[in-house]
């Protein structure tokens, strides 16, 4: 049984101007101790999917209109509010892109860290403080015993993200959801945080969901990748499959549009033309149809659902055509050389 099993999740925002189709029939699972990457461009529904899972959607205007979120045998969407609150920050924790929005600027790190440890782990003040210091040392904050008395603004961006991670880990979660935890950071600091999370994951036996818009980042991090577009998962594949043989035209387009550090030629990049659809005016048929080089008639009327690729049980794609990505990438490479 997977640790997390999401089925047919749908989230809408009811605004003055119209209904935003933010999360559309999303199904996926995360196994014990697995790292799943979610990649997609801005507005593709990555955050709203995970916020729906955590029941953190602002309501109104948002509403989870459909679906099931099974975690350790219970449907989170059916839990009472107090029950879901007990779970958050305990069995599941989430860390966000901008640590300043989730750290309280007027409280010391000690206050914020020990607070959640005391609530969830039922420890006394001294024990909670020891645990907090241990956590800060664990995430690589030097002189943790002194620094714990500091306020968030007294830390650098990378250190604040470490503090956030320490808070996320405070109660030994089974699942850590990291929503673009390194996007605001420099590459050298990003590399530090990635190494840190990889190490912690091993030590703590937890599963990780890592949200990003950077497909490159996941190549050293994830076991499996979900690609989102216009509020849908359009491709789900094991790490090596996704990069070597993507079967959805959008994934293929993304891979071809990003310049690589290990590729030297100064030829033209291959952009994905056009832009994503307006989620308030959701297109009929496949949401990628307007930008897709493989489009056929059927794409304009019928929306493909995520289905396994015939010969690969762990690889699923939402596309009528399912082009042979490996062959396309191979040809492109041959032309470049």
């Amino acid at each position: 049984m997977p640790l997390l099993d999401v089925k047919h999740l749908q989230t809408r925002f009811y605004t003055g101007e119209g209904v935003v189709h933010a999360v559309n029939d999303v199904s996926f699972h995360v196994n014990d101790q697995e790292t799943v990457g979610i990649v997609g461009e801005s507005g593709s529904g990555k955050s709203m999917t995970m916020l729906s899972v955590m029941r953190l959607i602002p309501q109104p205007p948002g509403k989870i209109t459909q679906g099931e979120v099974m975690f350790e045998g219970q449907d989170l969407l059916q839990l009472s509010l107090p029950a879901i609150r007990r779970l958050r920050g305990n069995r599941i924790s989430m860390i966000f892109q901008d640590p300043m929005t989730s750290l309280n600027p007027v409280l010391t790190v000690e206050k914020q860290l020990t607070e959640s440890i005391r609530v969830h782990m039922k420890l006394d003040k001294v024990a909670a403080r020891d645990r907090a210091i241990e956590l800060l040392e664990h995430v690589g904050i030097p002189a943790a015993r002194d620094r714990i008395r500091n306020y968030p603004h007294q830390f650098s961006g990378g250190m604040r993200q470490r503090v956030m991670i320490a808070m996320g880990l405070a109660c030994d979660p089974k699942l850590l959801i990291a929503d673009e935890p390194t996007t605001a950071l420099d590459v050298t600091i990003q590399a530090q945080i990635v190494e840190l999370v990889k190490r912690l994951k091993e030590e703590l036996n937890m599963a990780v969901i890592w949200i990003t818009h950077d497909l490159s980042l996941l190549a050293s991090l994830a076991d499996r990748i979900l690609v989102m577009y216009a509020g849908q998962i359009v491709e789900s594949a094991p790490l090596d499959q996704l990069y070597a043989n993507p079967r959805h035209p959008y994934t293929l387009g993304l891979l071809q549009s990003i310049p690589r550090l290990d590729e030297a030629q100064k030829a033209e990049l291959k952009p994905v033309d056009g832009m994503p659809p307006d989620l308030m005016d959701y297109p009929q048929g496949c949401p990628f149809a307007a930008r897709c080089p493989y489009v056929i008639d059927r794409c304009h009327t019928e929306d493909p659902t995520l289905e396994p690729v015939s010969d690969r049980p762990n690889h699923a794609v939402a596309c009528w055509v399912k082009p042979n990505g490996a062959a396309v990438l191979e040809t492109a490479r041959a032309i470049a050389h």
């Binding site: 590459v187 190494e195 490159s216 980042l217 310049p259 550090l261 100064k266 291959k270």
Partner: protein, 334 residues
């Protein structure tokens, strides 16, 4: 495709000599006094060659934007000299500076912030033409339509407002505006950082196409080293207000000499799990020190994985040619 990488163009368009921009740090409520300075740019020297793209990379706060602004005199340097062709910009004032500025334009990072939301696309792109007295009336409208066409936007958009466009389209508007005055030199400060991955390639391609067609010279500021490798002929790496390495693109990426460049490159992820599985990462310890008080000696020594005793107390390593125009500032590289 440009050919500058294979046919070296040695003609210098912009020359920067020991450029320095220090911002004062003031203290006191009534009697303000200077208690220190932020050494945003702390003595850098390099050339930008006619027709090339010089990439400028480095971590947040290392002084990239300030360098770009100081070259164009949008931020007046506190030391050093900048030459554009024959003119010393750092000595130019008033009308002569204004004339020179026409030749040099800046594209800013955020296409949302750099467009006035209350102006139509037509007036945004046409404004520099009026400011410099280059065209009015029908002539101006025609030129604006032409500019929109050049950057791949429908000239019908002339009466629309910025909010009606996507990020990539807005960046095209910004580029059209920069091109209005026929500049020779463009400082592009993170022109694609705010755009989605699938859109970034559109803008990168556009910039390369315009360079080929109009013979533009770019200083391309970015923190994405993969994009910089793709677009640049030469690349300069900054750390804490200094350029620590500058070389031909191939030399820099395939044979980085400075320990900081090596660490920076090793931190960049590659979208290929088989390659990633084999890579050795150099993980730098700690954070970038404050530019108010850069470390003594080599300013990278606090994080340098190969620092030796001398790096801490010997004078700062000189930025010098290690051969074939590959400039490095490190005691261990000769």
């Amino acid at each position: 495709m440009t050919t500058t990488a294979t046919t070296p163009q040695t003609q210098t368009l912009v020359r920067i000599e020991d450029l320095q921009v220090h911002f004062p740090v003031m203290q006191g409520l009534i009697f303000q006094r200077q208690v220190g300075s932020i050494k945003a740019v702390d003595g850098i020297t390099f050339d930008v060659r006619q027709g090339e793209t010089l990439g400028l990379v480095g971590e947040s706060g290392c002084g990239k934007s300030t360098t770009g602004k100081a070259i164009l005199q949008l931020e007046r340097p506190t030391g050093g000299k900048v030459y554009f062709e024959e003119t010393e910009l750092t000595a130019a004032k008033g009308e002569s500076l204004r004339q020179q500025r026409r030749e040099m334009q800046m594209i800013f990072q955020d296409p949302y912030a750099s467009l006035n939301p209350r102006m139509t696309v037509g007036s945004i792109v046409g404004e520099p033409l009026e400011v410099h007295g280059l065209a009015t009336g029908k002539e101006k409208r025609d030129r604006v339509a032409e500019l929109l066409h050049i950057v791949g936007l429908n000239p019908k958009f002339i009466t629309r407002y910025p909010h009606e466009f996507s990020g990539g389209q807005r960046q095209r508007i910004v580029i059209a505006r920069a091109l209005a005055v026929n500049p020779k030199f463009i400082v592009a400060d993170e022109p694609i950082a705010a755009l989605d991955v699938s859109i970034q390639a559109q803008v990168v391609n556009l910039m390369q196409k315009l360079q080929d067609e109009l013979g533009l010279t770019y200083l391309f500021i970015a923190h994405d080293l993969s994009v910089v490798r793709h677009i640049s002929d030469r690349v300069a790496v900054m750390y804490l207000g200094k350029v620590v390495e500058l070389a031909d693109r191939v030399a820099l990426y395939e044979n980085p000499l400075h320990p900081y460049t090596q660490a920076l490159l090793s931190a960049v992820p590659i979208p290929d799990p088989t390659i990633e599985a084999k890579r050795e990462r150099i993980i730098l310890e700690g954070d970038v020190p404050s530019p108010t008080n850069p470390p003594q000696g080599c300013r990278f020594h606090t994080r340098c994985p190969v620092a030796i005793e001398a790096c801490r107390y010997a004078p700062e390593p000189e930025f010098k040619d290690a051969g074939d125009g590959h400039f490095v500032a490190c005691h261990l590289v000769h």
